[in-house]
Amino acid sequence: MPTPSIGSLELAALLAVVRLGNEAYGLAVREDLAERSGRQHSVGAIYTTLQRLEDKGLISSRASAPLPVRGGRSRRQFRVTNAGARAIRDADRQSTAMWAGIALTRRPEPA
């Protein structure tokens, strides 16, 4: 099954979900992206992106029980699917292929 194409924000969100593990929900993803990219995406933009990833089958989600701290709303937690893991691997391969031959512009690997 071919891996669906993903945009840069989608890839960043997918990686954040992997990094965050059991703590991968909207706000945490947003903070993780802000910390790494310096961009403060709106909560709506983050959820739209996560929804797209879920539509593509790259992540799955489950809702918690209603929480008082969220005004009685549940919290949606995300987890990377097998297809999502493949998409990350493919994106890494594509990136490596694209960077091939222009190694001078890359930072040297730490010893």
Binding site: R30, G44, Y47, L67, V69, R70, G71, G72, R73
Partner: protein, 398 residues
């Protein structure tokens, strides 16, 4: 479904979150429902906003947290609306279109209301930038037709871009005034004119004070850092009588040399400048030279262009002052008008015009070679000590 998450927030934070399901949230939720947004999706977004607001309220205060909440909610609305368009079906799309149309209509009406509000004049006043006005009216010094400059202000005090102010004579001296504000002051006198713009009206006092001529001192010699001096001039009406109430323009050409404040000139640095005066149809200017004080011309060095030295000649005295090369002006200034002038003569390779004489106080000289000097002798027939000052202004080399 997994087991419920264990909230890591404190009890007080949870209470804050519960208490702050505010009207704005409800309105936001109602709006989202109206546009057909997926409620589960909207709950995810709103839940995050509420949770983060509670955290921020504990760290930065309720005000900052509410501000953040409103900003983030506004930023998220386009995404929620887009989500509703994509997932809300025909009904959702219709509601989004209706909401957008209502928003556009509200913005248009607000802009229109603002523009209309700006166009309502509430006050008429004299335009100070285009008219020589005083506290109690407008002064007109010319006999030529001039346009009165009134401007309309809106409620905020901003001048309106265009106003069609109309004028008419109301009382006082017979001043000619056209409806468009062209005023002709043929004679001296005060008149009241009525300016109106729609229902708005204001009286304007016009002082007709024709000035035909301005007379001022032609030259003024001052010492840098010395005492200030009042600018002397007089404005005359067509009958030759002085006009005491003046509103016009007095301007210093180079304020690094002298400054002018409330009619007083203060010499700042050596050099030459002028002060121009303009009142109605009359104008004049005063040339001002400011000199650097030195003890005598013996002390003169190359960089000094404007210098003045005190001169004191007793009976029987003969002085010789060296003169520089090139072209320069010499001016003698008496300490008192009643004092005689010393006898001057130039010696050496120098030519001066006019030639020195018993009444000549200003000469222009050209020294063609070194060794030129000025011979100063106590005049015959005088017994007293003569005192004054001799100033020298070097012209720049061609």
């Amino acid at each position: 479904m997994s087991a419920p998450d264990t909230p890591r927030m404190s009890t007080s934070l949870r209470r804050y979150a519960d208490d702050h399901r505010s009207a704005s949230q409800t309105l936001l939720e109602r709006t989202l429902r109206f546009i057909g947004a997926d409620i589960a999706f909207a709950d995810d977004v709103l839940g995050d906003l509420v949770q983060e607001r509670a955290r921020r309220a504990a760290v930065r205060g309720a005000w900052a947290a509410d501000l953040w909440y409103v900003a983030e909610a506004l930023r998220s609305i386009p995404h929620l609306a887009w989500h509703a368009v994509r997932h809300g079906g025909h009904r959702g799309r219709t509601h989004v279109a209706a909401l957008l149309a209502m928003t556009a209509l509200a913005v248009t009406m607000a802009v229109f209301a603002l523009r209309t509000a700006e166009d309502v004049p509430v006050r008429l006043e004299v335009d100070g930038q285009r008219t020589t006005n005083t506290v109690d009216g407008i002064v007109v010094h010319t006999t030529h037709p001039v346009r009165l400059a009134m401007r309309a202000l809106d409620a905020k005090g901003n001048p309106m871009k265009s106003s069609n102010v109309r004028y008419r004579w109301a009382s006082g001296a017979p001043v000619g005034v056209a409806a468009n504000g062209i005023v002709t002051c043929a004679h001296a006198g005060d008149a009241i004119l009525r300016a109106s713009l729609g229902a708005l009206a204001a009286n304007v006092r016009v002082h007709c004070l024709p000035v035909k001529e301005v007379r001022a001192e032609m030259w003024l010699h001052l010492v840098a850092g010395g005492p200030p001096q009042e600018l002397a001039f007089v404005a005359l009406d067509p009958d030759g009588l002085p006009v005491n109430r003046l509103a016009g323009e007095v301007r210093v050409k180079d304020s690094t040399i002298v400054t002018l404040h409330k009619g007083v000139i203060r010499p700042i640095a050596p050099g030459h400048t002028n002060v121009s005066m303009r009142f109605g149809d009359g104008e004049a200017s005063t040339q001002i030279s400011v000199y650097e004080p030195i003890h005598s011309f013996e002390d003169l060095h190359r960089g000094q262009r404007f210098v003045v030295a005190p001169l004191r000649v007793a009976r029987g005295d003969t002085l010789r002052w060296p003169l520089p090369l090139g072209l320069f002006f010499l001016t003698y200034q008496r300490a008192a008008d009643s004092e005689p002038i010393p006898s001057f003569s130039a010696e050496g390779p120098i030519m001066c015009l006019p030639e020195f004489g018993p009444t000549v106080e200003f000469v222009s000289c050209l020294a063609r070679g070194p060794g030129a000097s000025l011979r100063i002798v106590h005049p015959r027939g005088s017994t007293s000590v003569i005192s004054g000052s001799l100033s020298l202004e070097r012209r720049p080399s061609p």
